[in-house]
């Protein structure tokens, strides 16, 4: 397992724990804003580190690396959706909006990286064909 895969797995586990904490906390409402903000801040910090590592490593990954990484990143994306849903259901959106805004930002960056990996792995040859034509000009 590569270093980035270990990092992705570690982040997934920690994020899963934080999501559970948020879901349980938000059932009880409101001394509970903190019970959402704190784990969310924790996720945000590690999410930013993960996104940074992914971005910095993009040019160095092999196709095999991308194939291994992609399903894990999709798993994190799904977890992010779960978290967003849980916070929406808690009715505390306004109270945690600063931490949530940062979370959205990191989630966007993750989705962008997933999109880029899809493009890199894409077998659709329309782009390749045009680039071949340009090469020959």
């Amino acid at each position: 397992m590569t270093a980035i895969e270990t990092k992705i797995n570690s982040f997934y586990q920690e994020a899963q724990e934080s999501v559970n904490e948020i879901i349980e906390g938000s059932d009880e409402h409101l001394d509970l804003i903190l019970s959402i903000t704190k784990p969310l801040d924790n996720i945000n910090k590690k999410f930013a580190e993960l996104n940074e590592s992914l971005f910095n490593g993009m040019n160095g990954y092999s196709i095999e690396d991308f194939n291994n990484i992609l399903p894990k990143l999709k798993g994190i994306n799904k977890l992010c959706m779960t978290l967003i849903g849980a916070i929406a259901r808690s009715g505390l959106y306004r109270d945690v909006r600063i931490a949530l805004k940062e979370f959205y930002k990191q989630h966007d960056l993750l989705r962008e990286i997933i999109h880029d990996i899809h493009l890199i792995l894409s077998k659709d040859d329309s782009i390749d064909q045009i680039m071949l034509e340009i090469n020959e000009l």
Binding site: H115, L119, I120, M131
Partner: protein, 161 residues
């Protein structure tokens, strides 16, 4: 200019996007030309060739997506603009294909693959038609007149791919 310096060209799509972003100061994108220049002005072609994120590589060409800060809104490169370029390692040219912001009025998450393909098609056509525009990355992306490029020799210069 060192032999390792890159030359910068653009297609119409990029110039249209840039014009739209710079049209109104209040949209918060007016620093775009300056921010793009700040990425490239001190880089050699080899530095640019290695930049993140490499999307495709075919023959002498590499398609790259670059993160650019938005100093107007005080946004980091992660939140600023995305610049799509196509580099030719033999001719040492960089073609600006498109630029879009991540945030604000014209913000978008990604550029669909179909748009990237369209921009490459436009690039190919511009190369054939000779209507690429050269830019000065040390002077806010100002366009360089074609005549300024022509040597004293009378041979017609072919635009590079």
């Amino acid at each position: 200019m060192s032999s390792n310096a890159a030359k910068f060209y653009s297609i119409l799509t990029f110039r249209s996007s840039l014009a739209l972003l710079c049209k109104k100061d209040k949209n918060g994108y007016a620093s775009c030309p300056k921010d793009v220049c700040s990425v490239f002005e001190k880089l050699s072609f080899d530095d640019i060739w290695e930049m993140n994120t490499r999307l495709r590589e075919i023959g002498n060409l590499r398609l790259i997506k670059i993160r650019v800060q938005n100093s107007c809104q005080n946004l980091s490169s992660a939140d600023g603009f995305r610049l799509i370029i196509c580099c030719n390692k033999v001719l040492r040219t960089v073609a600006f294909l498109n630029i879009y912001p991540k945030r604000g009025k014209y913000g978008q998450l990604n550029q669909p693959k179909e748009e990237t393909a369209r921009q490459l098609t436009t690039y190919a056509k511009s190369l054939k038609d000779g209507d690429l525009v050269e830019h000065n990355v040390k002077d806010e992306l100002k366009q360089i007149e074609k005549d300024a490029n022509i040597n004293s020799s009378s041979t017609e210069q072919r635009q590079p791919s």
